[in-house]
């Protein structure tokens, strides 16, 4: 018999860790991107030319990683009782 309360608590712990590091990732990547671009914006004209490409890859990187993490969460939630993940 599976202890459902324990399973939900452990699932929340897994999700909490990922949300925490994902939040840190969003902060650090956007901070680094903003700082580098704003520092170079006026002094280096090439930065303005390349800006759209950089922005595209930043959005792709953060977007795909976030979607991937949501999929991992859904997968664990769907299979946790069948595979007895938290026993």
């Amino acid at each position: 018999m599976v202890n459902e309360t324990k399973y939900h608590n452990d699932l929340k712990k897994d999700a909490g860790i990922i949300v925490l590091v994902l939040g840190l990732l969003f902060f650090s990547e956007t901070f680094v991107f903003y700082t580098v671009m704003s520092t170079l914006w006026d002094a280096v004209p090439e930065a303005r030319t390349l800006f759209p490409v950089y922005l595209l890859f930043l959005v792709l990187l953060l977007g795909i990683e976030t979607i991937g993490c949501i999929r991992v969460y859904n997968s664990i939630k769907e299979h946790m009782y069948d595979f007895k993940y938290y026993d």
Binding site: D14, I17, I18, V21, L22, L24, L25, S28, E29, F31, V32, F33, T35, V36, T39, L40, A43, V44, E46, A47, L50, V53, Y54, F57, L58, L60, L61, I64, E65, I67, G68, C69, I70, R71, V72, S75, I76, H79, M80, D82, F83, K84, Y85
Partner: protein, 457 residues
């Protein structure tokens, strides 16, 4: 199975998500302590940021492909097994060899760097004996058991990661040295747009080897949870570390010096003038080299073990230790190869071969996923417990980015690129020929517990 009595012994299933994280990040984090800064030499700060974002996007997608394939197949060979099952024997053999070479070369490079650090502290010692000692000690650790080896990796990697995070937050908080915007401006784009593009060749340094996290699937207690969770957590960690490293180093070290630095993070800590950071980053540099070398012994031996188990090599290497449940002969055999690489002493050449081998894998891993999805389109719990997003479009995009990055090796390492590709083409034909001579019938139901693939129904 072979005539060896102990080839029937199975690998022990004890690993948890944090072991998967430790294996993946442990191998790779060394690239954030050193090596990534060659992107700055090629393309300046803008080139380095471009390489970080483009290579990061590629690796996020490789990680998702590896998560799906690893949690489905649950086999020790990782990329090798995926290519064997879903592409073919020739492709499997070159992926197995590519993984082996990628990690062995990385192990040798790590051991050389550890010896160099030791020599910088104790100038009287010779580097080569220390290199040998490091390789021997880590081989012994992996011989004794994967749990002990990965627990060690977890401790080393976690310490090295905390050092980067502490450095970043202390710096933006104003207590970790003075950040100089003028360093960024003076070295923003020294070689024009071509330099920015050429910087991509060292972009993989930030993340090289993260796909190896999925290679411990056969030794995981719950691979369907541990692999996707550990792999994604590992990828986020590396992206975090990459951005933070680029930020602190670009603002603390003049760009001309940063591009040629051997230990950029340690040098940045020195520039900060904070003694705590200098000590912490010195420990981090040493720990990350050891963790990387330790993880690469684990992964390269699993790849060799898998090649041997499937008769591409002599079956003698497929033996599993009766007491420690490790592929001990494959583990021991990593030592002479790593020593041979280390003996050459050409660190950049060794590393470039490792990158080329890695890029071969990044073409083959998504291709294996595309084939897997075509052969087994159903998303059942038995066949595909973790379903990655936006596939197969992400797999096609990954292949495109890997080929683009590989093409940039043409600037400065064209011979390495040609030699590497020639090596793998010859290996492809050799192993395709060898595979025809062995009786290798494949039964999906018996081997994997899966139904027949779509094209056989």
């Amino acid at each position: 199975m072979s005539e060896n009595s102990n080839t029937g012994v199975e690998l022990v299933k004890t690993l948890r998500p944090y072991h998967v994280w430790a294996l993946g990040v442990g191998i790779v984090l060394v690239g954030e302590y050193m090596g990534w800064n060659f992107t700055v030499a090629k393309g300046g700060i803008l080139g380095s940021l471009f390489a970080l974002l483009v290579a990061g996007t590629m690796y996020v997608m490789v990680s998702l492909c590896a998560s799906e394939l690893g949690s489905s197949t649950k086999l020790a060979g990782g990329p090798y097994d995926w290519a064997r099952l879903f592409v073919g024997p020739g492709a499997a053999a070159i992926v197995g060899l590519a993984v082996y070479m990628e990690y062995i070369a990385l192990e040798a490079a790590d051991a050389i760097v550890v010896a160099s650090i030791a020599q910088s502290i104790f100038p009287e010692i010779q580097t080569f004996p220390v290199t040998l000692l490091v390789i021997a000690a880590l081989t012994f650790m992996n011989y004794r058991g994967v749990v002990a080896a990965l627990n060690l990796n977890f401790a080393l990697t976690f310490t090295a990661l905390i050092a980067i995070i502490a450095f970043f937050f202390m710096n933006i908080g104003g207590i970790g040295g003075t950040w100089h915007p003028e360093y960024l401006i003076s070295g923003a784009i020294p070689n024009g747009f071509i330099g920015v593009f050429a910087a991509l060749q060292f972009g993989p340094w930030f993340y090289l080897g993260i796909e190896g996290a999925a290679m411990c699937a056969e030794e995981c207690k719950h691979p369907t949870r541990a692999i996707p969770l550990g792999q994604q957590a590992g990828m986020i960690t590396l992206l975090l570390g990459a951005g933070m490293t680029l930020y602190v180093c670009s603002g603390l070290i003049p760009t001309a010096e940063l591009g040629v630095s051997v230990y950029p993070l340690f040098e940045a800590a020195n520039q900060s003038g904070v003694k705590f950071l200098v000590a912490f980053l010195a420990i981090g540099t040493l720990f990350t080299c050891l963790a990387s070398a330790n993880g690469t012994v684990c992964d390269s031996s699993r790849s060799w073990f898998a090649l041997s188990r499937d008769h591409f090599l002599t079956n003698w290497f497929a033996a599993v230790h009766t007491k420690y449940s490790t592929p001990y002969r494959a583990v021991i055999f990593t030592m002479p190869i790593a020593v041979a690489f280390a003996y050459s002493g050409f660190l950049d050449q060794v590393i470039t071969f490792s990158i080329t081998s890695g890029l071969v894998c990044y073409v083959m891993i998504p291709f294996s996923l595309i084939r897997f999805r075509k052969m087994f389109p159903e998303h059942t719990q038995k066949v595909r417990p973790f379903v990655g997003p936006l596939q197969p479009y992400l797999a096609y995009f990954t292949i495109f980015l890997a080929i683009v990055i590989m093409s940039t090796l043409n600037w400065g390492y064209s011979y390495n690129l040609i030699f590497g590709l020639l090596f793998y083409i010859i290996a492809y034909f050799y192993f395709s020929w060898r595979y025809r001579s062995i009786d290798a019938k494949h039964d999906w139901g018996e081997d994997m517990g899966w139904p027949e693939p779509a094209h056989r129904k």
